[in-house]
Amino acid sequence: MRRRTREALLGWALLVPSAAVFGAFVFYPLYRLIDLGLHEKNRFGTAERYVGLSQYADVLSGDEFRSGLSVTIRFVLLTVPIGIVLGVGLAVAANRRLPGIKVFQTIFSSTVASSVAVASVIFLVLVNPQIGFFGDVRYLSLAHTDSALRGIALSAVWANLGLTFIIVLAALQAVPEEIDEAAALDGYGPLRKLFRITLPLISPTLLFLVVVLVIFGFQAFGQVEILTGGGPARSTETLVYKIFNSQQPLDQGEGAVMAIGLFGLTFVVSLLQIGLLERRVHYGS
């Protein structure tokens, strides 16, 4: 066999394991979702009938999807900006040569160890209106429709602190020392240096962080389930929460359409990410 053919065959062969997994658990489900969205099932799941794109139109313009989308977006807005600010704050504070600084750095990164479940169980107690330490804080109250999402967002912000801190710290540490010295020589005070020099220098990292946190935000499910069960009055039902609860036969068509809607959302964000990354490549040269 010619070497070229052998290499080609080997190349494909090495991709087969991954491709098999992707085929079975990414692309095939996508096809099924689209198909589910075109049908309606009966209550027992034993029969289905074709309803076509009308279901897509109805669901995507309907109240359920719109409220799920709005809650999801609101959640992202509540967790990402403040998450970044806090992460940067912690990283800037811990990015200095002091004896024992490693201890502080470990503490600041510790929340990376808490999963969604752990963080939610912890905050359920902290923010519990009856017995929580912060139970009286109306602004975060899980018992009111206007504030419940903030309570959930708080637990997510805390859980993300570690990750944000680690990433920003690494970026800060990659900034060459000469720049710091040059800034000091030029008479830049610490705040001015931060905003005029440091942050712009690590902006690719910050952009990356925004994308990561936004994607986490889109995936919000466990926190909602544990902290509020989607309430009160379904005011904290994110898209994924609604999708998760649409697995019964009668709901599957709707759920599938909402899932496609969520896909559309992640598609847009991914495009943005690719676009930004492309820019970064040119940045570098």
Binding site: N42, E48, Q248, P249
Partner: protein, 487 residues
């Protein structure tokens, strides 16, 4: 248009498929008649003899959502049954912390028939279980055993019977109670032995407690649907048409908008909220904040399930709250009193509640027989008594109430929870067997709608009219989907 033409053609295919599915789907006993159909239709046979020839123990899996003390009691009962014979091995599987979850799991498993032997759900599933086509109606098993159904508490029997067919194999009866902090009553100058008997009185007492500075929000309440149902049924008000779902026609619409009693109830909640007397707790699955409110003495009055009695007792001190005369021995310092349910217009107006056990017809006959044998055990006077003493579920076997241990428990020996449950049992006895509660297919969606309506009233800014109008719409849509979904 294209849709109707396609529908027309596919309806034929679908009808054929449905017939095929009915013919091939699951076990032999899939032919249970849906409610509302000809009551002359034959009941499926209950395979009571299928256990006789088994060579190995049959495994009976039970799906449930019990927690805390009732769970401990259930585990003990299962162990007792397993140890008492060797043909059946019962295995419990928790499906989560709320009936919503188990309903979801059940519906999700329905198409593939991957169902356990027994499913324990709450009292609202009767219609949907009957319509599901996968449940073995207990009526046929009781008849096969020659069991006299008059032994059952008649309200329970009428509640769980559709067109002469009794569906659940056993049921633990639950009801509702008023719990109140007698110290707070004393401190507010109220008579600690005179709990409120109507909602109006409750508001008065709460106001007095608040005015005396004893508790800022005296009335703790979990905002869930079932209490609303109790108030409405107790006041004789239907929530859906077709005679509250029990009539011969199809149930197609809610009767919430414009429902006087419902408006009165919602307005009462609004009033409590406006006066700052309400400590409302959102009904997040698996939470017990309303008990915590009482335990931490942030609130003084609670209306909640009678099946919480043993859990509250355990939670509050880890010891029995002895001293019926009013000086308890517990470590929490709570002097808890219990009163009857304050209805809209009078005391003790409630409906049926609790949990219900259904045997699935999709398992092999030997498993069904094993499941029924376990149900016989659960229906024995001893098991019914134990379920009361440990799990706070009142027996549906009327004779169990005469058991000396039970009688003593009701009298207050061995824990104050007993006296509390006596009250609840009296409430059960006081329900009108001809108006025991609604029968709704999409009961879970009905509950979601009511809960959302009350949430919007209490945690948001909706008016009673707006809230009920929203609920009406949601329930109408759910009923339509349920009825349409029978294709």
């Amino acid at each position: 248009m294209r849709t109707t033409r396609t529908l027309g053609r596919s309806s034929a295919i679908v009808a054929a498929l449905a017939l095929l599915a009915a013919a091939c789907g699951g076990g032999d006993d899939d032919t249970s008649a849906p409610a509302g159909s000809d009551p002359e239709v034959e009941l499926p046979t209950c395979p009571v003899d299928a256990l006789d020839d088994v060579t190995e123990p049959v495994e009976v899996v039970v799906w449930h959502t019990q927690t805390a003390r009732p769970l401990d009691t259930l585990v003990a009962l299962v162990d007792e049954y397993n140890a008492s014979q060797d043909k059946v091995r019962v295995r419990l599987e928790s499906q989560g912390a709320s009936y919503d979850e188990i309903q979801r799991k059940f519906n999700e498993a329905l198409p593939s028939r991957q169902l356990p032997a027994v499913v324990v759900v709450d009292d609202t599933f009767t219609q949907s279980m009957a319509d599901s086509g996968v449940v073995l109606p207990a009526q046929s098993c009781f008849e096969a055993d020659g069991y006299d159904l008059d032994q059952l508490v008649d309200t329970a029997r009428s509640y769980y019977t559709i067109d002469g067919v009794l569906w659940p194999a056993t049921a633990g009866l639950g009801n509702v109670l008023l719990y109140y902090n007698r110290d707070h009553y004393r401190a507010a100058g109220l008579d600690p032995d005179d709990p409120p008997e109507t909602l109006a009185e409750l508001q008065e007492h709460a106001q007095a407690i608040k005015d005396a500075g004893v508790a800022a929000t005296p009335f703790a309440h979990e905002v869930s649907s079932w209490k609303v149902e109790f108030w409405l049924t107790g006041a004789g008000s239907s929530v859906v048409d077709n005679d509250n779902g029990r009539g011969p026609d199809e149930t197609t619409a809610a009767t919430l908008e414009g429902n006087e009693e419902a408006l009165e109830l919602f307005a009462w909640f609004q009033g409590m909220q406006d006066a700052g007397l309400l400590n409302a707790v959102p009904a997040t699955p698996g939470q017990i904040d309303q008990y915590l409110a009482i335990a931490s003495q942030a609130s003084s009055i609670l209306i909640d399930s009678s099946s919480a009695a043993t859990s509250i007792e355990a939670f509050l001190g880890g010891q029995d709250l002895t001293g019926v005369e009013g000086t308890p021995d517990d470590t929490s310092g709570l002097d808890l009193g219990v009163g009857t349910f304050p209805g809209l217009s009078g005391p003790g107006q409630t409906q049926m509640g609790g949990d219900a056990w259904y045997v699935m017809s999709t398992t092999p006959e030997a498993v069904q027989a094993g499941a029924w044998d376990f149900m016989r055990f659960m229906n024995s006077a001893e098991a019914q008594a134990e379920n009361l003493l440990g799990g706070s579920y009142m027996p549906w076997l009327a004779a169990a109430n005469e058991d000396p241990e039970v009688a003593a428990y009701y009298a207050g020996d061995g824990g104050i929870a007993g006296a509390w449950l006596k009250l609840a049992n009296d409430l059960v006895g006081g329900i009108d067997p001809d108006f025991p509660g609604p029968l709704i297919g999409p009961y879970d969606e009905f509950r979601d709608a009511i809960e959302e309506a009350l949430d919007r009233l209490v945690f948001g800014d909706a008016t009673p009219e707006e809230a009920l109008a929203g609920a009406q719409q949601a329930v109408d849509a759910a009923l339509e989907r349920y009825n349409e979904g029978n294709f």
